[in-house]
């Protein structure tokens, strides 16, 4: 690529200025820092240039950057400036990329629509009356509206795949441990993972190659060698074995989503894939298990927001207990409070065995389903979400219904396996539909090959939202 870093970055910043007022996907545009970094890249000797030289990237605002605020979409961190950058940010910089914006999210990544952002909701570029999904809604929209070519999101339970599906882009949740969580503000540590977002599979591959690998500072990041994903993408995928999980095509699946997903499987058949039915018998317990595990971990992780070392502190507390509890009441929004309460309850004396321990055992069964299923297939395909993007407010008063928006996504987080969403069609009214592909631990390379084979045979990922033409 010959384009100068300054040119690429100033174009991205101009697109943000033009379109973001309609979409609100950006919390902080890093105008000055990004321009300065781009100028420095252009001025540096051209040998050797990083693989992402001058490429503008948007980053979810729960990932610490050394410039700008890192708010997690929460009032409690509205003015927080991280004293260090996340591992993934260091890796992006080493590759020559430039972080141009911090993006909106559901507060502390808890939500499926960005309506839980402590600041404002983000809009879906395909229909601004609808949610973009969440919690990585801002990063997904920045890519979907072509403000930036790449973005980083994070997942705890579907927070990259679900909005990627709602907005017609590609998003990958890597294997747990594939990418360092150092500098990702913790929500549920046994589930959290940073992942790449792009309009197509080669973009996801470039970004994943830049961020994957062991980092001493995250003891759960693994030493498993990082394969040459780009090289694998250039190879023929050979014989593809697709697993069709009947449990993911049941009640509540929108007819147009079902049709598009089945058509995608047909595309694989035409490519010579072997499609066979597999079973994930404990699927019905996924959401119940997930919401106990994630809230229990969240109640512990979010204990650090106590008004002592950083973030908001209440004015004139009666005593130190009041300082903690009034600070947290003022700083946290309703969904965060709800999850802290549920998690605290599940871990509290008398309920631990019935809820938390039971959920950990259910997690074993859910994970075993996948290990068994992958004996017969390379990837499991399903719809990413049961419906296309919903309207603002549609699920806002019913937390359980909102949780069920991630019904097909959370199992991959519980099992720790890689999973992605790629566009596989549109509804008659023009809303994107996503295809989910899940693979065994550390089989990202194979997963991406198979996703790429689909994109080479189809054009859904090339369609841009009408707002881009404005």
């Amino acid at each position: 690529m010959n384009a100068s870093a300054a040119g690429q970055v100033s174009e991205a910043l101009a697109r943000i200025r033009r379109l973001d007022p309609h979409l609100r996907c950006v919390l902080t545009a890093l105008e000055e820092d990004a321009s300065a970094r781009a100028a420095a890249l252009d001025a540096a000797p051209p040998t050797p240039r990083g693989p992402l030289f001058g490429v503008p990237v948007a980053v979810k605002d729960n990932i610490c950057t050394s410039s700008g605020a890192t708010t997690c979409g929460s009032k409690i961190l509205a003015d927080f400036r991280a004293p260090y950058a996340a591992h993934v940010i260091e890796r992006l910089h080493e590759a020559g990329a430039v972080v141009v914006a911090k993006t909106n999210l559901d507060e502390f990544a808890m939500g499926s629509s960005t309506e839980n952002s402590g600041f404002f909701p983000t809009r879906n570029p395909w229909d601004v009356e609808r949610v973009p999904g969440g919690s990585s809604g801002g990063s997904i929209v920045a890519v979907a509206a072509r403000l930036v070519p790449y973005a980083l999101g994070s997942e705890t339970g579907g927070s990259i795949r679900q909005p990627a599906s709602f907005c017609g882009v590609c998003g990958l949740k890597p294997t747990y441990g594939r990418v360092s969580r150092y500098g990702l503000v913790a929500f549920a540590s046994s589930l959290d993972q940073v992942g790449p977002v792009a309009v197509d599979v080669p973009g996801v591959v470039r970004l994943l190659g830049a961020i994957a690998g062991r980092d001493e500072r995250d003891s759960t990041s693994v030493g498993e060698p990082v394969p040459d994903y780009e090289g694998m993408l250039a190879e023929s995928p050979g014989r593809i074995r697709i697993g069709y999980a009947r449990e993911y095509f049941g009640e509540g699946l929108h007819p147009e989503t079902r049709k598009a997903t089945e058509a995608a499987i047909e595309v694989y058949r035409k490519l010579g894939a072997d499609v066979r039915e597999i079973s994930l018998p404990h699927s019905a317990y996924t959401i119940a298990c997930y919401y106990i595990v994630c809230t229990a971990e969240a109640s512990s992780n979010l204990a650090r927001f106590d008004g002592v070392r950083y973030g908001h502190r209440t004015k004139e507390p009666a005593d130190y207990i009041d300082m903690y509890s009034a600070t947290r009441d003022e700083g946290f929004g309703p969904e965060v409070k709800r999850r802290i309460m549920l998690g605290t309850y599940a871990l509290s004396s008398g309920y631990y065995d019935a809820y938390y321990l039971k959920a950990l055992k259910a997690r074993t069964l859910i994970k075993s389903d996948f290990l068994e299923a992958f004996k017969a297939c390379d990837v499991i395909v399903s719809p990413t979400t049961p419906t296309p993007a919903f309207r603002f407010g549609e699920k806002a008063d019913n937390p359980l219904e909102m949780y069920l928006a991630d019904i097909y996504n959370c199992a991959a987080n519980l099992a720790g396996i890689p999973a992605m969403s790629i566009p596989c069609g549109f509804t008659e009214s023009g809303l994107p539909i996503g295809l989910q592909l899940m693979a065994p631990h550390f089989a990202e390379g194979r997963l991406l090959q198979i996703a790429h084979a689909y994109q080479k045979a189809t054009e859904h990922h090339l369609r841009k939202p009408p707002i881009c033409a404005e």
Binding site: T220, I287, P317, G350
Partner: protein
Amino acid sequence: MPGKIDEKQVRHIAHLARLKLTDAEVARIGAQLSGILEYVEKLGELSTEGVEPTAHALPVCNVFRDDVPGAWFAPEAALANAPEKDPPFFKVPKVLDQETA
């Protein structure tokens, strides 16, 4: 599985979680938690006898590294976000000479 959650329990949990909830929040969160717990109780249908709990998706355990001194951020940087400080300390309301709650 235990039954639904009442107002007294909501207040107890809020205290454990250090959340000062208004009466309206107690009522609303109590009702919502009851609904979520009712859904979660389906886990009770599962036979989990002899099933080991999974706290972590990968079989990674006891990751050690050498304890090597290295650069870290300076006290000023660590204090930069503090709501109240008295360098090199964070400043908090008085904790001692007071009945703990």
